[in-house]
């Protein structure tokens, strides 16, 4: 395998992992918003 294809593979891998992180943090943000909504609904 050439150096070029390895670095491309690395780039793709890094991009996929960053996309995954964005999804994960979006999920956490979603949970935060759900809790905030519940807080207003239930008068916490």
């Amino acid at each position: 395998m050439s150096d070029k294809s390895v670095s491309q593979q690395d780039r793709r891998r890094k991009r996929a992992l960053i996309v995954f992180q964005v999804l994960l943090y979006s999920y956490l943000l979603g949970l935060f918003l759900v809790q905030l909504h519940m807080s207003h609904e239930r008068g916490w």
Binding site: D10, R13, K14, L17, I18, F20, Q21, L24, Y25, Y27, L28, L31, F32, V34, Q35, L36, M38, S39, R42, W44
Partner: protein
């Protein structure tokens, strides 16, 4: 500085001297960063530990600028970060788990509960093991301290020593954080009436406090794509 003439016969001269100086510089920096990290891991003494850590980091950066082979800064930051994460969580939870009737715990933990997390205030010290009475919380404490934080601390030490097993195990323990944060937050949401009702800063207070513990996730892309050859077998 050593010279080729000062080295014993059979050594690699300048290369050996460079290696020696690099190891000494790394050790000198770690001598500041280790106590700094341990103090930060206690939470309350973090204000003393933080400047010690920064001083050690400065020594390491200066050594790198002087051309010595020291640890990459990103590895240093990730390694010490996961150790602080593990020690902070373990110290707080161990107090609740085994020292739940002490005066200091009833003051700090239950006081913290009244402000940020009702799980540490509501019916506190009323279940048979003492400490938090929040549903599921004891199970999280025991399993995460024993499985995740102990292992993550060991992996962080291995990473700081630039060992291959340290890098590999830290990947494993950072991914375990996925289970931890998805599960723990769902628990917080489902039992929100226990955790967030009648406290000083409901919901956002807990998130501001805890968001820093979620940061080890950020290490995952680096750990997966770093050149593994920089870590030794």
């Amino acid at each position: 500085m050593s010279t080729l003439a000062q080295k014993p016969p059979g050594s690699f001269g300048g290369y050996d001297a460079h290696q020696d100086h690099s190891a000494q510089a790394q050790k000198r920096a770690d001598k500041w960063m280790i106590p700094g990290t341990l103090l930060m891991g206690t939470g309350i003494l973090g204000i003393i530990g933080f400047p010690l850590f920064l001083w050690g980091l400065r020594l390491q950066v200066n050594a790198a600028k002087a051309g010595l082979s020291v640890r990459p800064v990103i590895v240093t930051l990730i390694g010490y970060l996961v150790i602080i994460d593990s020690t902070l969580n373990s110290a707080g939870w161990m107090m609740d788990l085994v020292a739940n009737h002490t005066l200091i715990n009833r003051l700090i933990t239950a006081g913290w509960g009244a402000v940020f997390d009702g799980g540490y205030f509501w019916h506190y010290n009323e279940i048979w093991v003492g400490g938090t009475g929040a549903p599921g919380e004891k199970a999280w404490q025991i399993s995460l301290i024993m499985v995740v934080f102990c292992g993550r601390m060991a992996a962080g030490i291995g990473l700081l020593q630039m060992k291959r097993w340290g890098q590999q195990w830290l990947i494993v323990f950072c991914w375990m954080g996925l289970i931890v944060w998805i599960g723990y937050n769902l628990n917080m949401t489902f039992y929100g009436d226990v955790r967030y009702a009648n406290i000083t800063f409901p919901v956002w207070g807990w998130w501001i406090y805890d968001i820093f513990y979620i940061t080890p996730f950020l290490a995952i892309p680096y750990l997966h794509t770093v050149n593994r050859e920089i870590f030794s077998d």
